[in-house]
Symmetry: C2
Subunit: 148 residues, 2 copies
């Protein structure tokens, strides 16, 4: 079985998508993460849901996590309710050393090994550098369950 | 809003649960991860789905990822279909430095900040050291979407 055979269609965002759109896609689809592509459809980075949550935390709290503990409930609610007006591109973390991207003809073992090593819940599958689908951890685990 | 108000019930596994049970829970529920508890109900660790995928990769391939690339499709399918006969306890990675665990009265901002910092898609919520629920990244993002 090759990556293209198990890849699923997935909403994708571009560097110009708004933070609000990224949050909406993840929240409504209960997705494990999003693939960010450039205008040519090439994956630029993968944003696991835990990293999109970073949008809910203002930079001054990210820099000093102890601040989160001293703010009261009401203040905390207000902060988390203020979604960033930025685009996805403007809020990307520094480019990761290795992207969770594989090719359409790679095997399920390569998918599992890369996902475990990079601790990423989804892998982008490309053909000629263009995104053709996504393989999630749930998809791989379901496959293994049925094969065993 | 406090952690206990947004925590969801979640299937939990213990150190004695089988790897097969962990995979089945994640795959059928499309969960972002599992909380592993001891017999007293205290969280011992959190297993993101990407780390449960590690069960599908034999240790010799984890040690030498280039092996995954040289195995053909048929061999790869067979390996991924062989679920570990081990218990969850036997296959835990070394204990992480900091567990994604918060208390029932912690705020949503603390949840978001910890999730982003530890890159973990779920946080275990405890009261008197006993697991009372789980807050996922999807839950936090949905909350922010409705508040904004």
């Amino acid at each position: 079985m090759r990556a293209e055979q198990i890849a699923e269609e997935f909403p994708e965002v571009t560097l110009n998508s708004s933070a609000l759109e990224a949050v909406r896609l993840l929240a409504t689809g209960r997705l494990p993460g999003l693939v960010v592509t450039d205008t040519a459809g090439t994956p630029v980075t993968i944003l696991p849901a835990s990293q999109v949550v970073r949008l809910l935390v203002p930079p001054y709290v990210q820099d000093d996590p102890s601040l989160a503990r001293v703010l009261d409930e009401r203040a905390a609610d207000q902060i988390v309710g203020q979604l960033s007006p930025l685009t996805v591109g403007a809020m990307l973390p520094e480019r990761p050393a290795e992207l969770p991207v594989l090719h359409a003809d790679d095997t399920v073992l390569e998918l599992a090994a890369l996902m475990a090593r990079l601790r990423c819940p989804l892998i982008a599958i490309v053909e000629n550098d263009v995104l053709v689908g996504v393989v999630t951890a749930s998809r791989l685990l379901t496959l293994a369950l049925h094969a065993s």
